[in-house]
Symmetry: C2
Subunit: 217 residues, 2 copies
């Protein structure tokens, strides 16, 4: 029997997009239930899951009869229902949206795909030129974020917002996609600042499914 106030998050440990939402729920102390999606065995392509999300992607959040998809939408929704990490005014709202869109377009889009290719598939599965292309795009995006964070503690204003949750989603796996924060010290310091929040957990400790039963290498 699910309490109607409980958030049900469909997710898996390796999903940085799921982590964006899971971290917010955890830091806010929200009542939430994790529903493991067996992504590596086709879990997001399963007809029952696609009935929840035709985009066939995790995360999916169920709450009070609503089914929400796209991490940026879920973060915006939770800022409203939890009354935490949201904008204080319209200018902040737009600035949060700006960085969330940029994350989806330039940062997460490249890093998530790059990491998937190099970390979760046997070497040689993908063309080295494609990997090099994604690595170059990922580095370009990290450079933009590094400049932005050089003189800021958080991305939008001087407190944690949902834009930080969006952008940081894949950044606790730097070795998996081959980046050392020494190259991007402001980004590294900001990830550490978020990791110092009470209750913070690494994605592999927060969500189910890690380690994979048989890791490809």
């Amino acid at each position: 029997m699910t309490d109607r106030s409980t958030y049900r998050l469909h997710c898996f440990a390796q999903s940085g997009n799921s982590y964006k939402v899971a971290l917010m729920l955890e830091l806010a102390g929200a009542p939430w239930t994790l529903v493991w999606n067996d992504f590596f065995n086709g879990g997001t392509r399963d007809p029952a899951f696609k009935a929840l999300n035709a985009m066939a992607e995790a995360p999916v959040l169920e709450h009070e009869g609503k089914v929400l998809t796209q991490s940026g939408v879920i973060l915006d929704y939770l800022a409203g229902t939890l009354g935490r990490y949201g904008p204080a005014n319209d200018d902040e709202r737009r600035e949060i949206l700006r960085w969330t869109l940029w994350d989806n377009h330039k940062l997460t889009a490249n890093i998530a795909t790059l990491r998937w290719m190099v970390q979760f598939n046997p070497e040689g599965t993908f063309d080295p030129a494609v990997i090099a292309f994604l690595r170059s795009r990922a580095r370009g995006a990290l450079k933009t974020l590094e400049s932005h964070l050089a003189d800021r503690r958080y991305v939008v204003v001087d407190r944690l917002t949902i834009a930080d949750f969006s952008l940081v989603g894949y950044l606790y796996f730097p070795t998996e996609f081959g980046v050392d924060w020494k190259e991007y010290p402001a980004v590294g310091a900001w990830t550490a600042r978020i990791a110092a929040e009470p209750g913070w957990k690494h994605p592999y400790d927060l969500m189910p499914g890690h380690p994979l039963p048989s890791k490809a290498a």
Copy 2:
């Protein structure tokens, strides 16, 4: 002397992201001024432009002292100031955001990069494996959009919204990135439906800078 009510859009004809905003301004009959950005000669990397947008991307909208970047943010802003093409309630607002994020992550991100490589650079500039990779991702995204539009006239509700403007941004250049709408008939019909709006113009007719002085081939 610029009327303070006038929207100033920094854009160029080849930019589908600029077109998302330009088309909305034009269809809404808003008072707007176009400021051509010489992208192909480094216009978005120019220090004066980067002072407007550190992300070094078009479009940028100036209005009443505000400087707005990211097409998704600008569309959201204009829905407010123009009172057109926005959501009627919170569910619609989230559904618009969902498709705008998906567009940035899955559709525009792949199609814009693919088109740039194959249309605006000499053959052989980019590795064929990278082009094939982007083509496959673009086709996957078009397939998702095709299923969604199979039984809908517009993306979110039965009227034009800013989600349609976002998603259609690059879709009037199908031959440039090698797609025939016969393969995606619902997408093709939807682009034609938008093109039938009074005042519609193709991006090359709406914004300055087409054709390029010397087209690479």
